[in-house]
């Protein structure tokens, strides 16, 4: 009888709670969401963190300052140079170290190359999640390989670069390196043109990405969202222009803004940002001066990191990493180890609005929205 009664009430639906589990090819790492579904529409979403928690902050409390640099590579492992930049900037603020001219230019060149690498990787993976199985991803990776080979020649490693030091950089760029960068920068626009012909007016992409996951500018500001996600919602805030850190105010570049704040805008803002980064690279390559690559006061630091004792105090340094605002909060008590070390990770904060953007959408859209926020689990969970 119960079965017949149940069959009669077939227009009642139940809420199904599924686990968008830690093992999944599209979650960009070990990231778990518990999603409550009503049919195919999402009515609740809760992210669960901690699957890649490696206790980076406590490890850093037991190490001298210079030895933490290789660990910061492993935070946002897709572009390690941005993390190195943020950490070096914070310690230079804390200890009052100045950076020579040529080192600043080298830093900007490497940071912008890392931005290009990150944005291509994100766009490639977002298109992969959409279903364009691997073709745009591998086109993007062809270009990425050229830049990673360049990183290997300059810094010694493709991904975990460990290149920046307090007061400068580790190794100089030779003329051969500069020529290689120039070659990459001049060939890139042709690739971008081909990529845009492949995708930007593609009807399937437009239908799947426009008006999905809309985020308004006010919500974004209040929720602490930064980076391309914020700029796609129309708020003009780029830390390179606001804080004038390093030598970014010598270069002429625009900040692309979106209008609607949907997934398509976030994808297109990243394509435009690659163009702006290429502009910065060309200007930097033209103007790079000769000189030293590291502050003379920190040369003894390279040989004996245990003797570096910054003055008592605290510093909060932030950079515009390709994913948002990457901040480092360091409290020093005069000993060679930091007293408190905290990383303000953009990937974690940008996930505050994930639930709100996904409510009412279908589950296939949740994957695209997560891909457009651009998280990497090394940073989220530290």
């Amino acid at each position: 009888m119960e079965i017949i009664n149940a069959l009669k009430n077939t227009d009642e639906t139940q809420i199904l709670e599924i686990n968008f589990g830690p093992q999944h090819p599209s979650t960009h790492g070990v990231f778990r969401m518990t999603i409550q579904l009503e049919g195919e529409k999402i009515c609740g979403l809760k992210p669960v963190f901690g699957y890649l928690h490696r206790n980076h902050e406590q490890i850093a409390e037991n190490l001298p300052y210079a030895a933490i640099m290789p660990y910061t590579d492993r935070l946002d492992y897709v572009n390690a140079l941005a993390n190195n930049f943020g950490y070096a900037l914070t310690i230079e603020k804390l200890a009052g170290l100045e950076v020579p001219e040529r080192a600043e230019y080298i830093r900007v060149i490497m940071a912008e190359l890392a931005r290009v690498v990150n944005h291509i990787t994100v766009i490639g993976f977002m298109l992969n999640d959409l279903g364009a199985f691997f073709t745009p991803l591998l086109y993007a990776f062809r270009e990425r390989e050229r830049i990673l080979d360049l990183f290997e020649e300059i810094t010694g490693s493709r991904l975990m670069n460990n290149f920046f030091r307090f007061g400068g950089v580790k190794r100089d760029l030779t003329n051969a390196n500069l020529a290689a960068i120039q070659k990459i920068v001049s060939k890139f626009p042709a690739f971008l043109k081909e990529f845009e012909a492949l995708l930007t007016k593609n009807e399937i992409l437009c239908m799947r990405c426009q008006n999905i996951g809309v985020l308004s500018g006010d919500t974004a500001t209040n929720a602490g969202i930064t980076g391309p996600v914020l700029r796609a919602s129309g708020v003009n805030y780029d830390i390179r222009k606001v804080d004038h850190y390093s030598i970014y105010d010598r270069f002429d570049f625009k900040i692309p803004l979106g209008e609607k704040g949907d997934v398509y805008d976030r994808f297109y803002v990243r394509v435009l940002e690659i163009r702006e980064s290429l502009k910065i690279l060309e200007q930097a390559l033209a103007k790079i001066p000769a000189g030293e690559i590291i502050n003379k006061k920190s040369l003894p630091l390279l040989k004996m990191p245990r003797n570096f004792k910054p003055p008592v105090g605290e510093a909060y340094g932030r950079v515009e990493s390709p994913k948002g605002e990457l901040g480092f909060y360091v409290v020093s008590d005069g000993t060679p180890q930091p007293w408190r070390y905290h990383v303000r990770a953009p990937s974690l904060i940008n996930l505050t609005v994930l639930e709100e953007m996904c409510l009412g959408q279908k589950i296939a859209d949740a994957i695209i929205i997560l891909g457009s926020i651009d998280i990497v689990l090394g940073e989220t969970d530290r």
């Binding site: 290789p70 010694g156 492949l198 007016k201 593609n202 437009c206 990191p305």
Partner: protein, 196 residues
Amino acid sequence: MTIFGWGVFKGMMVTLKNFLTSYFRKPDEGGIFTVQYPEEREKAIENFRNFPFLVYDGSPEKIRCVACGICERECPPKCIHIEMEIDVAGKPTRKPAVFDIDYGLCMNCGMCEEVCPFDSIFMDHAFEVTAPERNEGLVRNKKELSKSNEYFQKVRPTLASSIDQKRKAAEEKKKAAAAPQGVGGQAQPPQGQEPK
């Protein structure tokens, strides 16, 4: 007025162009760039840093390391273990008796190479490193880590030659300072080879 589906069609044209040109373009320009490893290998890049190794000049007894312990202190994951050799009289000699690196912990950061004051530990290129067990098999001892200066010249030519020049110049300076004052008042340094 564009028909519906024109964007998809243009995209397909891009894919078709890439497919057809991959047959006759060079690997750098859009052709097939797969390297048939292990029969073919890519050109080794000199600055690539993988695991560390120790340098000796000539024979393994003349190892440059003096067991000062600086790399052991500065290694961030603490993967180096050094013990200095004590000779029969009880005095410490300046040579390591035990020099272990745990490749399972090493994170290839290169800090040991940066801080060594005696130019004795450098980063190697070897990445085909295997072991039969997971924990003990990856600990490398002094004998396996020591490689000759000729090997160092082969894998990292520019760095090895600059280190050799520096050591030769330092030696000549030492000899000149220790040489007795010759007739005429000036001590002549021995004629060295031209720098490379």
